[in-house]
Symmetry: none
Subunit: 529 residues, 2 copies
């Protein structure tokens, strides 16, 4: 008996009755210790690591469903290891398919899942009680302006989500920025006309070295999500990028067919495109629907849909997104099949419906509306970034801080130097005035610019830290104490305090001493000398 939490993986294995027990045990050992049974003597390993075959039941002629229980701790909270554990090595066997995956809370709780989920996407779009209508910007090869025009026309016609085609991959960052900026502005222009909030999701694709800055760019443009191909990017890499930059993930099934399409092999559709993609943070999971270009069955896509929307630990539900050749005529059937909580991704048929994409989009939306009672609310304003960023504080971003007599600036008030909650009391100082000019008011910089002023006889704390200071004197004259040394600072002198240098600034003159101080945004706390 296992007394610790386990996950249950069900495998459909083709085998004769004479071999199935041996194969089942082989799977349990291969996936955990990768050693023959005789070599696993340590009782801790046998008890806590080796998988257990908990059930073998016939599943039609020459086939069995084998349930293997794996200790939850073996997942180690990692998506890559979860994949490794349930299918890594046995993927190299023939006639074995992972058809079921039951995860205990001990495993589920390590995964954040969809950041926004169904509710979040409803709030972003302000669209309730009907499926969202999505299309793709394509084909690659058209000039950026033409692609942006497509996005604009779709948004103007009341489309809900316009995503890049997954083949829209830029040769470099400049090209990516150019295209995405154009499309984002186009959709924004349409949104200003419609009063709605059509979402534009660019395709997040780049070499691994560049993905962060691509995602950052998307975030800085104020876009709310991306199209991502989890298998191409790495399932957990896709998760991390979207999570770090607060982007909704519309997961594309590129390459997933390698797992799902072999009937007697691989990973079942619902497990991969449903459970695993949801664990990895997909807010929307795209898959080919029956009747389109790929022959996924109704049963398969129902499985995906359930895995995305049904309760799963504390994870938010995600939106199923049938695609792959959906048409105007598919809408009634899609509406019946998926209900309101879905995204209908319609590409070619919408583009080809008429010469006027805006009118076509309206027609498709009208067709969808026939089956629902849609409710439109004000879309949620875009307020927060998921990167740690504290927009609540500060005095706002302003282009110009006018200098005023007495070394004050418009839009900025003086602040106490070192609020008590972050400063040990013994770090003494006196007569210090501080103005947070840039960095703490919402500006996107990696540094903070502050103005400090010491009254006659004033001084800053004697301290050291890992971060450095750059000091530009602009008023009066000051003294910099630096380890054993001491030096005079005059207007426009630039001083640099190295990591861990003990330092203090003093005003030993008769007029105020003022200086700008530039420091890294990310910095350590001061220490006593």
């Amino acid at each position: 008996m296992n007394f610790y939490p386990c996950l249950c993986a069900t495998y459909r294995i083709e085998s004769g009755p004479a071999d199935i027990e041996r194969i089942a045990r082989f799977v349990a050992y291969e996936q955990t210790v990768e050693l023959p049974e005789g070599l696993v003597q340590d009782p801790r390993v046998r008890e806590h690591v080796v998988g257990r075959v908990s059930e073998i039941r016939p599943a039609g002629p020459g086939a069995y469903d084998v349930v293997v229980r794996y200790a939850a701790h073996l997942v180690s909270g990692q998506m890559g290891q979860l994949l490794n554990l349930v299918f890594g090595n046995v993927s190299m066997l023939k006639k074995i398919r992972l058809t079921g995956l039951e995860l205990p809370r001990a495993v589920l709780d390590a995964f954040a899942g969809p950041k926004y989920g169904i509710d979040g996407l409803r709030r972003m779009t302000g669209v309730y009680n009907r499926p969202l209508l999505a299309t793709a910007v394509k084909p690659r090869g058209l000039p950026d302006e033409q692609l942006a025009e497509l996005a604009y026309a779709f948004a103007l016609g009341g489309g809900d989500i316009v995503k890049d085609d997954q083949n829209l991959v830029a040769p470099d960052f400049e090209a990516f920025k150019q295209r995405v900026d154009l499309c984002a502005k186009a959709v924004d222009r349409a949104n200003q006309q419609t009063g709605r909030n059509c979402l534009y999701f660019p395709h997040l694709a780049a070499n691994a070295d560049d993905l962060e800055r691509y995602a950052e760019f998307v975030q800085r443009l104020g876009l709310r999500g991306v199209l991502a191909c989890p298998i191409n990017l790495g399932v957990d890499t896709a998760r991390k990028l979207c999570s770090d930059y607060g982007l909704a993930m519309m997961a594309h099934p590129s390459l997933t067919g390698a797992f799902t399409s072999g009937e007697d092999h691989g990973i079942a559709h619902d497990v991969l495109l449903g459970t695993l993609f949801r664990l990895a943070g997909a807010d929307i999971s795209i898959f080919p629907a029956p009747g389109g270009r790929f022959d996924y069955s109704t049963e398969q896509v129902r499985g995906i849909t359930r895995a995305l929307r049904d309760p799963l630990g504390a994870l938010k539900p995600a939106l199923p997104c049938p695609a792959g050749g959906m048409r105007y005529d598919s809408i009634p059937a899609l509406s019946r099949e998926y209900g309101a909580e879905a995204v209908f991704l319609i590409g070619g048929s919408l583009l080809g419906h008429s010469d006027d994409l805006t009118a076509s989009t309206r027609a498709y939306q009208a067709r969808i509306a026939e089956h629902f009672t849609p409710r439109l609310e004000e879309p949620e304003p875009f307020l927060e970034s998921a990167c740690e960023f504290n927009p609540g504080e500060g005095e706002g971003v302003h282009t110009l801080l006018h200098f005023r007599e007495g070394f004050h600036w418009t839009e900025r008030s003086d602040r106490p130097y070192k609020p008590s909650e972050t400063t040990p009391a013994e770090l003494g100082f006196a007569g210090v005035r501080r103005v947070e000019l840039i960095g703490r008011n919402g500006e996107q910089t990696d540094f903070d610019l502050r103005y400090f002023e010491l009254a006659t006889g004033g001084y800053t704390s004697l301290e050291k830290h890992l971060h450095t200071h750059v000091i530009i004197t602009v008023r009066g004259q000051g003294t910099l104490l630096l380890d054993e040394r001491q030096m005079t600072l005059k207007p426009m002198d630039v001083a640099y305090v190295r990591p861990l240098e003990v330092h203090q600034l003093r005003n030993e003159g008769s007029e105020p001493y003022g200086f700008f101080c530039v420091v890294d945004r990310e910095r350590d706390r001061p220490m006593r000398p």
Copy 2:
């Protein structure tokens, strides 16, 4: 006719003769424009983007080999996009297998491939003219000390590479450090006794957020490589990590069976475990050899071996690594099959050979030596770090830059504004003087502090970029053009230029206009408005 470089993908497709031509064209369109033929009217797209079916030849009953030519530029130098292009969407069809992939230099040259390759691993180990003997540290669940003891015993017996089992995944960074440090020291201790250089490759597995620091730790320990699961990590993420930290990559085939094991579906063994993994930087590619636990055929593994070792553009050859149940008795056959340029990975059989792993390892090495004339040389000392770091430039770190008349500073000379090699010629500017005060001279800051001065009539480039500017006026008076606006900047005014705001500074006055400009150290290139 295509006059630009193309890559050729060969698909084995099961189909009747009536349908094969339609299916072939479907693949060519689906993988590039994902639109029906009738909707692709733009001649640029038809000519430069749509794939071309260049050959359809019968391949046995009910099967055809279809060759599709894709324009090389569609790969965009990205591994993820290469996968997407050759198999992304069609993976979701049934009865289609990517069996061949010919890449032109235009594609190959974008991929660095193995960092060390066969020669590099020879130099690291100092072992020539025979296969390397590798084993795995396992099973998970043993105390770290016991795992380290196994690594020690193997290295002491003359083993060449000891890698972590792919199930050896740590719950957190501390546990990873603990285990890897112990194993590294154990192998090091053995190496000091043997005078050889057995390599220890830990398993690089973590959540995407943590991979960098795991890799950095491995590098800092002085280890030369890692075991990595490219499909679990993301193929290009594995490449990037190994490349950034100068680590050899021993690629593990976890999950690859999802692609390779379906006989009428997926990606052929040689294409995935050979060509694609080599492109992605695998120095060693592990695969199950015939006669072991997985029934890979001789033909399949010969294909992998050729794809790893045969000439491929300028890419280094990589070592094939047969595994998956190899035994003492397999050595003669393995030796004949693979010759000297291979790694024999032997796990369970070596651990179970006797109670003395050191003696067992010696026995296995002796058995290998019977088939070769090994030569041992002094292993290459570990010298370099692969992290890029450029301490050479700049004018040195100084505590105090004294201000001098005319807005000059001691220790700092004026520099040309925007050296020509990074600036498009059309980004015009005139009458600009620049002083790099802090940041480019070795200082540890996340920002750069520069002084710019515009002569009368001078101006900076009209440009935009993602990074922001903070501008502190200190001399004269200037004009800031910002999108449609224009504003005057006077001494001690502080201005902030937002991301992507088009901006220019002009001096329309009669005296020099000088300002400090603070920018992030990491920043993107300027774009035209």
